[in-house]
């Protein structure tokens, strides 16, 4: 086959080239058609018209251009073909076609079929029988048949998402030939060696007259492994053609086939394997279900992920139901914070464990974490044990309760000694212990040894022979810190320290997060039920990959997958790659075993002669499209020339210039346009909010009574002045609030003068006040009637009745008069009473729950938060109220300026209490602390 042989498919058309001179003559005669114009002053025009300006014939080069165009069209119709095929089949025996229909043949399957079809046609023309077989098929039939039959079987064949089984195919072939010597053996190969190196040797052993190796797919690339690392998915990719550096994009798809992350893999020149990376947040990586190489739509270029990567559901149990207001002391707090990014956490609604545990198990968690639970209700041991047998993972944390629990607890991995071991402290010589390196068999192996973690207290395991093997982490002195035990299909893990920071500082270290995360990854995904047998032994095919790397529901020919514990399953004809299981949970079976490398078929050192050919269709080039393209280009050039000669461009020059100017203007305007698409999330009223945020403002409720509101406003203005003068707090001007509409959350204290004459606030407004108080705000109610105490009962004033009506809708805690040791009496001034214009009424605040443990000798009671409500009848605002000159507006009762001073001090104390909370309570301890320190 010569390289530059040229054959015309329709050589008769070349006769039309004879007509070219006639075309030349015709073209020379035809000038372009002029535009006809009526023109009355023709005689004047005729006097200036020069005859040579009107060529009646086309210029020679234009004619030549048109001649070339005509010649190109004629040649194109004649259809010249470069490098035609030639029939070179050997006629000494049947044609043997061995065709790889493995995964790597999927992209160019059509060309392989065409190649085989051409060979079959050759055999047909030479009247040879054809033996055709496909290496990746389940059954082989290599009996030589007629070319028609072979063509039918070729048309029926399709690429399979499998590796070829050439050994089996060759066995069938050699028996089918029964000693007949084949003429030509053509092996249309995918080029990938599949375990055996001697396929060419095998074929040569048939001693054919001619052995051809056709094809190969140097583009073949396959994903072999993927690993979910800490911050990215690492993907191992292997390629066949190792020459040259190459970069391939990777895309991760979710279960619905949407591309959700991208990465890339780069091969260095000469390397057959490389590791790529898809960096994505962990939450996003949870959703990966398939990874593909862009542009490589093959089963090998697709890697399926099962739900082993999914988030687990983790149930949390704690022995102590502590107040959530002190979360740092709750053992579940650290577990919650550590696992929330990696797992779905469920917590029981019931404190009663006998109810809570079945409720949790009914949600089929993958993992159950029990923090410091010493003893479970008797009836819950059965379900938990069953759940672990079915594959559940139980993690326990030690604590005072577990340390005190009896030793026969079935749900601990090791036998525990009663009581805990304290390291360090007054009565111990031992120092707090750091962690040792993680043992090699531990899943924590590979993590760096955490520095700075000290364990001060732990529970101890009774030493047993296999204790070391079951230890995942230990202290520097060798005592186990994390032990484990498998039970049934599940596992129990015990952390020998408590889950909060009292026994060690492990829970507040990063190592804790990583240890919990790895433990969670060990647990079985997809949920574990506590009833029934463990999950089914065989997994039915759910979705299968086809050769093009697409998941299809066609599962008829696949058999259920039997999970084996000793070895990973391998894809074969009975178990094609795909997803096995059901919609709830499935296992991915990938085409290539982990760390497979694609290697070309070994042909070196063969002692048989063979010829190597590329596939058909690449080198037989038809010149027809190129010639037609040339003709079209010439026609375009001719059109432009004719238009130019007819003066079209000079006619449209002006408008063209205008269009160019408009175009440039549009471009410049478009580029200079300001970026107006910025998100604008401002809302009406934002400027009011911002005005309130820069400074603290005192606020009062506008009752609707003008004089009451004026006294409130002036009173708070007076207090503002006093605060500015006496303290570092410099509030802004007081603000009157409409509690039904205004935003309340900017103010720490709202002064509410209760007036029976004012309209009753609506239930919605009271609900807003209630929400404000829940969110940490405080309302100071002032009934301004010192003569009637709040407990006055029947003799209560109208204002007090109105206050009771308001409070009836509010969720208020129990109240008490300010005790002598409350922070309010000490937050700025030392006060014993809180007078206003009147001095009689006490100041009522939220009653502090007396738990009896407090030392009554302390100067102030500690307590968290501030009282959400204060009630007084002393008309505080009346005492504070000043006019514009700073002179008081209202006299005190009795008229005593000291009482007014005390009223201001009471206001300062209330504001300090509002703004500082229990910080001031701590401050009052300072003298005692200093005294204790001996200074």
């Amino acid at each position: 086959m010569s390289l530059l042989s040229l054959v015309f498919a329709n050589p008769m058309m070349l006769a039309a080239l004879v007509a070219l001179p006639a075309i030349w003559w015709l073209l020379r005669l035809t000038p372009p058609r002029p535009v006809t114009e009526a023109f009355p002053p023709l005689r004047i025009l005729a006097s200036v018209l020069r005859r040579e300006e009107t060529p009646s014939k086309s210029p020679w080069w234009l004619t030549l251009l048109r001649m070339l165009m005509a010649a190109a069209v004629i040649l194109a119709i004649a259809d010249p073909v470069l490098n035609p095929r030639a029939n070179t089949l050997s006629t000494t025996g049947p044609l043997v076609l061995v065709i790889d229909n493995s995964w790597a043949t999927a992209p160019d399957w059509e060309r392989r079929v065409n190649t085989a079809d051409a060979l079959i046609s050759d055999a047909e023309s030479r009247d040879l029988p054809v033996s055709i077989l496909f290496t990746a098929d389940r059954e082989h039939n290599a009996t030589p048949t007629s070319p028609d039959e072979a063509r039918n079987r070729l048309a029926a064949a399709a690429p399979q998402p499998l590796t070829p089984d050439r050994k089996a195919a060759f066995t069938v072939l050699s028996t089918a030939l029964k000693g007949t010597t084949p003429g030509t053996v053509a092996f249309i190969s995918d080029g990938v060696a599949s375990g055996e190196n001697d396929v060419m040797t095998d074929l040569a052993s048939l001693s054919p007259t001619e052995l051809r190796l056709i094809g190969g797919s140097p583009e073949a690339v396959a994903i072999t492994t993927s690993a979910n690392e800490a911050d990215a998915m690492i993907i191992s990719v292997s390629r066949l053609d190792t020459s040259g550096a190459r970069m391939l994009p990777l895309t991760a798809y979710d279960i619905r086939g949407r591309a959700i992350a991208n990465g890339s893999v780069s091969f260095n020149a000469g390397e057959g394997t490389a590791k790529g990376m898809i960096a994505a947040p962990f939450e996003l990586r949870n959703d990966f279900s398939r990874i593909g190489i862009d542009g490589q739509a093959t089963a090998g270029g697709t890697y399926l992920l099962d739900d082993g990567f999914r988030r687990r559901r983790v149930a949390l149990l704690s022995g102590e139901t502590r107040d959530q207001s002190q979360p740092l002391l709750s053992p579940l707090y650290y577990i919650n914070r550590a696992l929330a990014p990696y797992a779905d956490l469920v917590q029981p609604n019931e404190a009663d464990l006998a109810v809570a545990i079945p409720e949790l198990l009914s949600q089929k968690p993958s993992m159950l974490i029990m923090a410091d639970i010493g003893r479970l209700p008797e009836e819950t041991y059965g379900p938990i044990g069953k759940w672990i047998d079915n594959g559940g993972t139980l993690i326990r944390f030690a604590g005072p309760r577990l340390a005190a629990a009896p030793a026969n607890d079935p749900l601990v991995p090791v036998t525990l000694r009663q009581g805990e071991r304290a390291l360090g402290g007054a009565l111990s010589w031992a120092e707090p212990q750091p962690l040792a390196d993680y043992p090699a068999q531990s899943p924590f192996a590979g993590m760096p040894r955490p520095e700075g973690i000290l364990v001060k207290r732990q529970v101890l395991a009774e030493p047993t022979a296999d204790l070391t093997a079951r230890t995942w982490a230990s202290l520097a002195d060798g005592t186990p810190l994390v032990t484990t035990k498998t039970q049934g299909a599940g596992r129990i893990i015990l952390f020998h320290v408590s889950a909060e920071a009292t026994w060690s500082n492990l829970p507040i270290s990063g190592a804790f997060v990583e240890m919990l995360r790895r433990s969670v990854q060990l647990s079985r995904s997809g949920g574990v039920a506590s009833e029934g047998a463990p999950k089914g032994q065989t997994l039915a095919p759910y979705r299968l990959l086809n050769a093009n790397g697409v998941l299809v529901g066609e599962t008829a020919r696949a058999r259920p997958l039997e999970p084996r514990t000793d070895a990973a399953p391998v894809a074969d004809a009975d178990h094609p790659p795909g997803l096995y299981g059901s919609e709830e949970g499935f296992t991915a079976l990938n085409l290539l075993a982990p760390n497979t490398e694609l290697k070309p078929i070994a042909t070196e050192g063969l002692d048989v002669a063979y010829t190597s050919e590329p596939l058909l269709g690449a080198e037989t080039v038809s010149l027809k499209p190129a010639l037609f393209t040339i003709a079209l280009m010439l026609a375009l050039i001719d059109t432009l020339v004719v238009l130019f000669m007819a003066g079209t461009f000079s006619r449209i020059r002006l408008s063209g210039a205008a269009a160019a100017v408009a175009f440039i203007a549009a471009i410049s305007v478009a580029t200079m346009l300001p970026d107006v698409s910025r998100a604008d999330d401002s809302k009406p009223g934002d400027e009011n909010i911002l005005a309130r945020l820069d400074k603290t403002h005192l606020a009062y409720v506008v009752t609707g009574e003008a004089d009451v509101d004026r006294i409130s406003e002036r009173g708070l203005a007076g207090l503002t002045d006093f605060l500015t003068y006496r303290t570092t707090l410099e509030p802004g001007p007081p603000v009157g609030l409409d509690i039904a509409r205004d935003e309340l959350s900017f103010y720490s204290l709202i002064y509410w003068p209760v007036s029976a004459n004012a309209p009753m606030p609506s239930p919605q407004a009271i609900s807003r006040v209630d929400a404000y108080m829940r969110a940490g705000g405080t309302v100071l109610f002032d009934t301004r009637d010192q003569f009637n105490s709040l407990s006055g009962g029947a003799s209560s004033s109208p204002n007090a009745e109105r206050l009771q009506a308001i409070l009836a809708d509010l969720d208020i805690p129990p109240l008490e008069p300010v005790p002598a040791d409350n922070v309010l009496t000490k937050s700025f001034y030392l006060l014993s009473s809180f007078p206003g214009r009147y001095a009689g009424s006490p100041l009522w605040i939220e009653a502090h729950p007396d738990n009896g443990t407090e030392d009554t000798g302390r100067p102030a009671r500690t307590g968290d938060g501030v009282s959400p409500i204060m009630i007084t009848g002393n008309d505080l605002a009346g005492a504070w109220a000043i006019d514009a000159n700073g002179a008081p507006l209202l006299p005190t009762v009795p008229p005593d300026e000291m009482q007014r001073e005390y009223a201001f001090r009471a206001g300062v104390n209330i504001m300090m209490y509002m703004l500082t909370g229990n910080y001031k309570a701590d401050q009052v301890h300072i003298p005692a602390l200093l005294e204790r320190l001996g200074q």
Binding site: E37, P41, L42, I44, L45, E53, M645, T648, S650
Partner: protein, 306 residues
């Protein structure tokens, strides 16, 4: 590509009349300054702002010896000691011949002009007729209408034109007698020599002539480009230019040279020459011609730039 200019249909006289009257309304009613022509056939009611034969009072002046006593105005003379004579204003009518060239070359309109040349010529002619008739002049059209003095002379001229369409070429002027004004409207695309050969005898006969040359903008600016075949609407001659744009300068030079030569010759004879383009307002040419007719030289109208 659509051609730039085309031949239009002949414009109906009725439509032209209405447009001409509209146009004439724009012109103030003014007098034509007539030359002293010794024997005017018909005495018109056309004040000459001179003492003379007429009906309207002009002035009282003292009686001088030798005058006819019958001319003394006794009523006025009785009011004081002098004797007065009543003078009347001299009133005279003037004959103006209007003529428009309606040859096929006038039936041309390009897309740069608003109307065809023929339409513009008819409008100008009828507008002049309207104005002049309003001031009592006698209007005539050679070969179409005998001179007549009537308020509705323009309408009658239009009606006459409907019955006797104007033919091409310069008019037969045998019937014109005496000292008359002659207004010629046309495109005058013939060579200047030929035109002057026709007009020269008229000037020598004592007519005062006013020539209005109507031109289409396309004829002046020559906006053609590319390969173009030009056709003469009168003779049907064809002429093909390979690249018309390179002819533009030469053509414009020749065109304006012809116009300047024609204008110079006419002014040399004492006639006036008014070039007019159809993309300009018709009233511009109307005002210019009217000024000439009134005896005022149009200062800004020389050189064809209105």
């Amino acid at each position: 590509m659509a051609s730039i200019g085309h031949i239009v249909e002949r414009t109906p006289s009725g439509e032209v009349l209405s447009r001409a009257q509209m146009r004439a309304r724009l012109i103030p009613d003014c007098m034509v300054e007539a030359k002293r022509i010794a024997n005017t056939v018909i005495s018109g009611w056309h004040g000459r702002r001179k003492r003379g034969i007429g009906e309207n009072f002009w002035q009282f002046r003292p009686y001088s010896d030798g005058e006819s006593l019958t001319r003394i105005d006794w009523r006025r003379s009785a009011r004081d000691d002098h004797t007065y004579v009543r003078d009347r204003e001299w009133e005279a009518a003037h004959t103006i011949w209007l003529w428009a060239d309606l040859s096929p070359s006038m039936m041309y309109k390009s897309r740069f002009g608003s109307v065809s040349k023929e339409s513009r010529a008819l409008v100008l002619m009828l507008a002049l007729a309207e104005i002049l008739a309003r001031s009592g002049e006698r209007i005539g059209c050679p070969g179409v209408m005998e001179p007549l003095s009537a308020r509705n002379a323009a309408e009658r001229l239009a009606a006459a034109l409907m019955h006797t369409p104007l033919s091409g070429g310069l008019p037969e002027t045998g019937m014109i007698r005496g000292w008359s004004d002659l207004v010629l409207i046309g495109d005058f695309l013939d060579p200047a020599d030929k035109i002057m050969a026709r007009l020269g005898p008229l000037a020598r006969r004592g007519f005062r002539g006013h020539v209005v040359e109507i031109a289409d903008p396309a004829e002046e600016t020559f906006p053609y480009a590319g390969r173009t075949e030009f056709t003469d609407p009168e003779t049907g001659d064809k002429l093909t230019a390979g690249r018309a744009e390179i002819l533009r300068e030469d053509y414009r030079r020749a065109y304006f040279a012809r116009r300047d030569a024609l204008g110079a010759d006419l002014r040399h004879m004492g006639w006036t020459f008014t070039p007019h383009r159809t993309d300009h307002l018709a009233s511009e040419a109307l005002v210019a011609v009217h000024m000439y007719l009134s005896g005022m030289p149009a200062r800004a109208t020389h050189g064809g730039q209105l």
